[in-house]
């Protein structure tokens, strides 16, 4: 179901936006419109849609119109033309009261500079949205308290914003947006003002919250890494236009134009690539029915000194080294008894970034396991080659 649908949304700043719009429709470039009329095309015929529960990121550099675009969605800025459908209702055509009602019930917003009310405590800030709806004090404080706890600010209810650090202030901003229990969160560069460590922490928590609460999120950022990490889908904006919409994979693999590919070129691969991108089919594996001798032979064939062991349903059992296999053969033990079981298991979605530490410490390759099944292995070499080559080359046969 489409939660937000934006069609041909255009915003022209200046004295006669309708004239500017006409020029734009006649195919004039925004530069010549600016030069001839002095009017700025903020957003140029943007169209996209966001599914319910989707994390949709709009990425663009400063001046690309992304902040204008998100403000057009809740009409903090009046669109010049086009439509914005929230749950199928066109917000552009709403009357004043309808608009206020939609903002109250359906749209929460988080701001880059937090936008907290300095004269109100954390609790009063978070309860603001409910307060203006006329929710009774007891009820609104209860709900505000809940979202304060959701963002991990328990104990700071009576502090004032200026007494909190930037990261905590943005948690208040997030809690305030959550308290209304609106389905949609609009987040305008919500984490851009935070330092990198706090930013990462907030990103992770936001992902957790979204998993838990199932919000539809429209997130603005100028940081491609952030976009790739958070977004189910990403729209890339340039000069007020959306130049590409797609998943992180689609954008990395098939940049729509040079602009996007230049962007993507500098992406830190370690954050984008996941274990599944660099893992290899284990060179050899065997059902646990066959004995130690068969395993030794397979190792010889592969020229390896160890082998991953699975049962007939490909359930991961452990690692068998050649020494252990020979011992087992000599003493006639079942292989299960000599398996090394404390092998590092990682999920296919683990980012490469998180594998460095593990790989350095591990004596053996890492096992990529999902639901108990062995999907592949990741060796130190494949992590490095993944970083250097990108995933296409690694996964190519």
């Amino acid at each position: 179901m489409k939660k937000i649908e934006v069609n041909n949304l255009t915003k022209i700043f200046g004295s006669h936006p309708q004239q500017g719009l006409k020029r734009l429709m006649n195919g004039e470039q925004k530069e010549s419109i600016l030069a001839e009329t002095g009017m700025t095309v903020g957003v140029n015929q943007a169209s996209f849609s966001v599914e319910a529960g989707e994390f949709f990121v709009i990425m663009g550099l400063s001046g690309s119109g992304k902040s204008t675009l998100i403000r057009l969605v809740n009409r903090l800025i009046e669109p010049t033309s086009g439509e914005v459908l929230i749950d199928g209702q066109n917000i552009v055509e709403m009357g004043k009261n309808e608009l206020i009602e939609t903002r109250r019930k359906k749209l929460g917003m988080v701001f880059q500079q937090f936008g907290l009310f300095p004269h109100r405590t954390v609790l009063q800030n978070v309860a603001y949205g409910l307060e203006i709806q006329g929710v009774k004090k007891e009820e609104r404080n209860k709900r505000a308290q809940q979202s304060i706890e959701d963002v991990g600010l328990h104990g700071y209810e009576n502090s004032y914003p200026k007494e909190l650090s930037g990261g905590m202030q943005q948690r208040v901003g997030l809690a305030r947006a959550l308290a209304n229990d609106s389905d949609i969160l609009l987040m305008d560069e919500a984490f851009s003002a935070l330092d990198p460590l706090i930013r990462k922490e907030m990103q992770d928590e936001l992902l957790n919250l979204q998993n838990k609460l199932g919000k539809t999120i429209l997130f603005i950022t100028h940081d491609l890494d952030e976009a790739l990490k958070l977004g189910d889908r990403i729209a890339i904006m340039k000069n007020g236009e959306i130049v590409q919409v797609g998943t992180a994979d689609e954008i990395l693999e098939n940049p729509a134009n040079e602009y996007v590919s230049n962007f993507v070129k500098d992406v830190d691969r370690s954050k984008v690539l996941m274990a599944s991108h660099v893992m290899k089919k284990p060179a050899v594996h065997m059902a646990d029915k066959s004995g130690a001798l068969a395993a030794v032979r397979k190792m010889e064939e592969a020229g390896a000194s160890s082998i991953f062991v699975v049962d007939k349903d490909n359930n991961f059992k452990g690692l068998l080294t050649i020494d252990n296999a020979i011992n087992a053969y000599k003493e006639n033990l079942p292989i299960e008894n000599v398996l090394i079981e404390d092998i590092h298991e990682i999920s296919p979605e683990t980012p490469l970034n998180d594998l460095f530490g593990v790989a350095v410490e591990a004596k053996y390759p890492l096992a990529v396991v999902e639901n108990g099944k062995l999907l592949g292995i990741v060796s130190r070499v494949s992590i490095l080659s993944g970083l250097v080559l990108g995933k296409n080359e690694v996964t190519a046969p």
Partner: protein, 278 residues
């Protein structure tokens, strides 16, 4: 440079004599009547009340809004006013200041809010304020007499004209200084204009508004003194008498009385500003 003669003086006088007074005289009379009742009421109340009680209240207020120092000063200042026999004159001045400040604030703050939220209103209000602030006060003392007669009513009117601009300007400034993202946040959560105003803009503009009220009160006091020239009773008339009779001693006693009032009023309203900043 006189290429042509502009009979502005004549025109103005004819306008006043032939139109303003006959046509609007009644209207101004009724305003005058209402104001007189108000100012006289406040004056009578202040004079009739036992000075000791007033001083006690003043000390408590000073203590609360400023501190021990001002409370002590209020006590000493009051003793001074009593000892030079200027208590009644001081109360007359205070009455004019209180009434005109009240009117300035009641009219000035809403005007300031309008000017802050409405561009058309701002472009109308600003030149009027400039005019009010730059026109020498003596100039509008004259029409004040014409329209409202002599005494404390024209004094209140002249004081109102003189003292309102800061209340308007500081209100406008305070509201415009509310950070844009805070206003945006309030709107984004679905505030109506009223909710935005009284839950966000006004509370955040309060320190600035209070500073405006402080300025208004100080200007009102200085004008209340000048207004003695159009017959306003009070400390100003004491000083005026000192000037006209070249009585340096009388001038000084009256002048010091004004200083005492000024310091107490200023510190109390300053205290209000500080309290609201927290």
């Amino acid at each position: 440079m006189n290429y042509f003669t502009l009979p502005l003086e004549e025109w103005t006088n004819r306008f006043v004599d032939e139109w303003l007074l006959p046509v609007t005289g009644e209207f101004f009379d009724s305003i005058s009547e209402g104001l007189r009742t108000f100012v006289d009421g406040v004056t009578d109340l202040l004079i009739a009340a036992p000075p000791e009680l007033l001083v006690l209240i003043l000390i408590i207020i000073s203590w609360k809004f400023s501190g021990k120092g001002l409370a002590l000063f209020a006590l000493l200042g009051s003793l001074y006013l009593g000892s030079v026999d200027l208590w009644e004159a001081a109360m007359q001045t205070v009455a004019i200041v209180i009434v005109s400040t009240l009117i300035s604030v009641i009219i000035g703050i809403p005007l300031g809010i309008l000017a802050a939220t409405n561009k058309t209103m701002a472009s109308i209000v600003r030149p009027i304020l400039d005019f009010m602030q730059t026109l020498p006060s003596f100039v509008y003392l004259i029409p004040a007499i014409l329209l409202f007669g002599l005494g404390n009513v024209p004094a209140v009117i002249a004081t109102f004209v003189f003292a309102t601009p800061p209340a308007v300007r500081m209100t406008t400034l305070g509201i415009q200084q509310v950070p844009a993202d805070v206003v945006e946040a309030s709107k984004a959560f679905g505030s109506t204009k009223w909710q935005l105003l009284y839950k966000v803009q006004l509370p955040l503009a309060l320190p600035s508004i209070m500073a405006g009220i402080n300025q208004t009160m100080m200007l009102a006091l200085s004008m209340a003194v000048i207004a003695s020239m159009i017959g306003a009773p009070g400390l100003g008339s004491v000083v005026l008498e000192g000037i006209s009779t070249v009585n340096v001693g009388l001038g000084l006693t009256g002048g010091l009385g004004i200083v005492v009032l000024a310091i107490i009023m200023d510190r109390i309203t300053q205290g209000l500003v500080r309290k609201n900043k927290k």
